[in-house]
């Protein structure tokens, strides 16, 4: 089991202002899963991803990553855990403008302190996977939105993490580019057994994933049917 969430609740505020972002979520994710988290705005999709990434801690319940409890780790330990085990793709790419595509992909590998020759190999592999092997020395501003998102995906997958989280990765892209990105996810999932969990509000993507987690008012329900 890769991820195991048990009775996970996250609340914000207190008293009359208390908001349940998630309520008693139980979820299991296995290696090689390809999951879309869907739901309306404010339903708790991002909170669920943040809980999975260890960016926030649950109010109650447990979350385990390969049997290791995440919620008991300190902030710095959770950051180190993300660096070693997770990749993250943002809706607005979040590439560093002062680094080239290659250097952006290198970034988490450099943070890990890997040897330079391994970094070079992994970076080259990741950029080739996303079809940007020839553009690796371009800066983000020299790339289109779709290309920037591909760089962000290369950055997320370069270290071959056990879990790749993507928060609305296609929201800023046109439908064709969005489909290209999902196709890329599918191929990486299929060929390299990389585990993807991404949030989306695009119903067209639902048929293309293995599992769909629907979330409404902080509660989850699994299934492709509405």
């Amino acid at each position: 089991m890769l991820i195991e969430m048990q009775n996970l609740t996250k609340t914000y505020g207190e008293g009359d202002q208390l908001v349940h972002a998630t309520r008693g979520v139980n979820l299991e994710i296995v290696e090689g899963d390809f999951i879309a988290v869907v739901g309306p705005s404010g339903s708790g999709k991002t909170t669920l991803l943040n809980l999975l990434a260890g960016l926030i801690g649950p109010t109650s319940g447990t979350i385990k990553h390969r049997s290791k409890e995440i919620q008991t780790l300190s902030l710095e330990e959770r950051t180190a855990h993300r660096l070693a085990n997770m990749g993250f793709v943002f809706q607005d790419y979040q590439l560093l403008p002062v680094l080239t595509a290659r250097e952006n992909v290198e970034l988490p590998l450099q943070m890990r302190g890997e040897p330079q020759n391994e970094i070079d190999q992994k970076t080259k592999w990741a950029l080739e996977q996303v079809g940007l092997g020839s553009m690796m020395n371009r800066y983000p501003k020299q790339l289109s939105g779709g290309q920037q998102q591909r760089v962000a995906i290369a950055r997320a997958v370069a270290g071959k993490p056990s879990l790749i989280l993507a928060d609305e990765p296609t929201a800023n892209l046109d439908s064709k580019t969005a489909q290209d990105i999902i196709d890329l996810f599918k191929r990486l999932n299929h060929e390299y057994k990389l585990t993807f969990v991404f949030s989306t509000h695009d119903p067209r993507l639902i048929d293309q994933v293995k599992r769909v987690i629907r979330i409404k008012d902080g509660q989850t329900q699994e299934g492709k049917e509405l």
Partner: protein
Amino acid sequence: MSRWLFLIKFSWRNLGRQPLRTLIMALGLCFGTGYIIFALNFSASGSKEIVNDFLAQYTGDHQLVAPGYYPDNDKKKFDPQKTLLESNFQNFDRTRYTQRITLPVFLSTPKKTQGTLLTGLVPSQELRLSNVTKALSQGRFLSDEGRNELLLGEKLARKIGVTIGGEVAGISQGLDGSTAVDLFTVVGLMNFGGGDMEEYVAFTTLASTQEFGVFPQGGFHQWVSFGTYQSKIPTAPEGTELVPWDVILPEINGSIRFIDIFTWIVAVIIVVVISLGMGNTLMITFLERQKEFYSLNVIGARSSWIAVSLAFEVLFLGIIGIGTGVLLGFLVTTLFHYYPISLKVFTGGKAIMMGGMAIIPKIRLSHYTHYYWQAPLLVFSFLSLSLILPIHRIIQRSRRAD
């Protein structure tokens, strides 16, 4: 190693994200550092020049006297009975020294009697070593052969109603206890800028003073040295006491120390102001990139990684700004070494009064090596302090998943 190189590259490039802001911050550091180096060099050079100017006119850099000549460690009092003997200084290096006698006398004319200090000196040696002749405004300087020739300050001459060629009676007590009375002829008038020196000091030859004051066996009071300011002070010969100028004139030494401390206080205030501005600008700059720091944290950047990358940015900014500031300070100091600053600019054309003498020096700036590491260190220390709050704030915010 590659991790550090990557971090350095990342931080260096971040400096170019807001080029104008980076330029303004670097210029702030540059001008601040440059000004501090210039101000410290100016202060130290000015003090040195003023003191040199002052000491070269009369006091000298240090004096050799008989033990007990300055009783009770009070350099304003002296005991005329404590004399040195020429015979004890046969092998003495006289290239920087001249003999002096200082005797309290009453100078009297039919118009008025005035108490004053009569200084006996060796004219040819004095001409060679000191700048006392610079103050000569009328008449001529003393001659070695002249007997009972007298130089008076213009103010003293007016007070007792005498001009060049006039005669003045001197009244004192000889060292043997007798009453010393003699007639002196005024050969020149001195202008010290109107201070005490012009009103209460008179000069005659050493030989005349010895005869007048009944000094036994060619005795005298002081060997006064010139031209060794702040250099190594020699050991006092046996049977003598060595008194440096800052002991003779502690108030002037105190003034110089005050100026030095004041300059440092101003320097620290400037650095604090620069640091506050710098800290504020850094805070704004970092907060503008808050989302980026959050993203870095999401992909696994530890707080230390973010903090070090920001510290490198400021380090590079500091190296550029402070480095050019050191160069600026060096160039400006060099400029005013070749084109000395006249203190008249600051005094409205008036002289500075020191120890009863008027000083109008031109300050030729010198390079004081220690300021070239002290000033940058000071600026860099405060710059580092100004970085603490922005980094702390950004680390806190980078962990916030909002």
